[in-house]
Symmetry: C2
Subunit: 245 residues, 2 copies
DNA sequence: GCACGCCTTTGATTTTGATCAAGTTGCCGA
DNA sequence: TCGGCAACTTGATCAAAATCAAAGGCGTGC
């Protein structure tokens, strides 16, 4: 996330960039922050905003590379499936992340909204054109890719080597830290994923996820207000149970 | 991998780039291929080559971002450990990959050679300087990051959702396709990892890996010439057992 | 208000892979 | 050639998580 300077705010205000895009950039900088007002205007002409409901595909398997999108609000899950239907969520993207796979087309991922999600998407060719003009944009995309790579590798450690209990605690910690990044780590939050989704994220079954959540509750690591709402009395304790020390 | 043109070969030959670097670039292009002869000369002045023996750290945990390296030959494993010693290999890099985490420093990874490995490394600041001058270099690094991200996500599906049998078969397939990329998929090859490393890559124990290899042998999916040497009579059959259909 | 469906929880049982425990094999150095 | 050691294999047992099965909740529409 980048700091939007006062000068830049003015420049954008004085240009023809739609107010909605100016507001989006002010809020999270993101991919737009590396563009000049003119380029931002160009991008905004080709962008489309829409709300995606839970379970709805943002882009289909194999198509994710054809568009690029800022997540305005909400959570998107990226997943892969085996031929027999076994599924694994390989990434979660939160506002204000941006999504997409510029420059490569092979990836076979499905991206779908986990909860109500607003996205602002751009066609691939526009992004590629802007990348050629604005070197800062590619740098920004590169950083995003490295961030996702770090997250993926952390998650591989969790998938490969942690117990069910540690996995569930690790998941809760990830949600707590990502759900509202502007305000830091949350101690009370709504889970953006159903038990089935959590199971697909953790490489477990629904029943095991449920039992582990119950156990964390009985051990007073978390409180459950409703099936989706969780309170964490001590983040240190959660971290400890998650095996992150 | 990029094609090194005849003209470029001449340009480099006529410059002061050391023969060893010219040969390296001719062989795999890689990060060097995006640089002008002058820049390549600059880079070669700061590069150091060395052979790393199995089990030796290429860069220590937390330091990987301080240097950047081409793998000339061999295999490097990237791993993460939990406080109690449980370990997960989160990436394997083969020649002619290049390694490193430009622009971010947080990653806590250990990189060590799995077999005898020759690397050519450059200090971080030199790479960053060249990136500022040569936009093609950042593009190349970005592509590398996206490739690693794709591989990491494929592997997450394997770690989270495949059986021990499928995991081992998937591992053998990965090795077959990466061990000698110039000649395509190998049907007979040496495993670059010990059983313990394979276990750490697959999130299994040594014993389970051994049993599954024995089972693949008994099922005639593979032949075992020695504990490290494997022959795959039918790649389709291996793929099928790996759950990649 | 009630019934239906979906999500979640809980319980009983089974299975997969981990753990514990010996053996082999093969390599290196004496 | 022989030990010694590390890497690997095999076997017996155990435990964690999957599977199978059955109830609860909870929201929605009638």
């Amino acid at each position: 996330m980048q700091i939007v300077t006062e000068q830049r705010r003015k420049d954008i205000h004085n240009s023809d960039v739609p107010a909605v895009c100016a507001a989006c950039e002010a809020r999270h900088g993101g991919v737009c922050g590396t563009l000049s007002p003119n380029q931002l205007l160009d991008l905004s002409r080709h962008s489309t905003r829409r709300r995606v409901e839970p379970g709805r595909e943002v882009v289909g398997q194999g198509e994710i590379s054809d568009s690029y999108a800022n997540i305005i609000s909400g959570v998107v899950k990226l997943s892969k499936v085996l031929a027999d239907g076994r599924q694994q969520i390989v990434g979660l993207q939160f506002a204000p992340d941006f999504m997409g796979r510029p420059f490569t087309r092979e990836s076979a991922l499905t991206a779908e909204a986990a909860i109500d999600t607003d996205i602002c998407s751009f066609p691939r060719n526009v992004i590629e054109r802007l990348v050629a003009e604005a070197p800062g944009l590619e740098h920004r995309l590169h950083e995003q890719a490295l961030k996702e790579l770090d997250e993926a590798r952390d998650w591989m450690l969790t998938l490969g080597r942690k117990t069910a209990q540690e996995k569930v605690a690790s998941f809760l910690y990830i949600i707590a830290t990502h759900i509202d990044p502007e305000n830091g780590t949350a101690t009370e939050f709504d889970l953006p994923l159903s038990r089935a989704d959590i199971a697909d994220y953790l490489g477990l079954t629904i029943e095991t996820v449920s039992r582990q959540i119950t156990k964390l509750r009985k051990d007073n690591v978390i409180r459950i207000e409703s099936s989706r709402r969780v309170t964490v009395p001590s983040m240190d304790r959660l971290l400890h149970v998650a095996g992150i020390d």
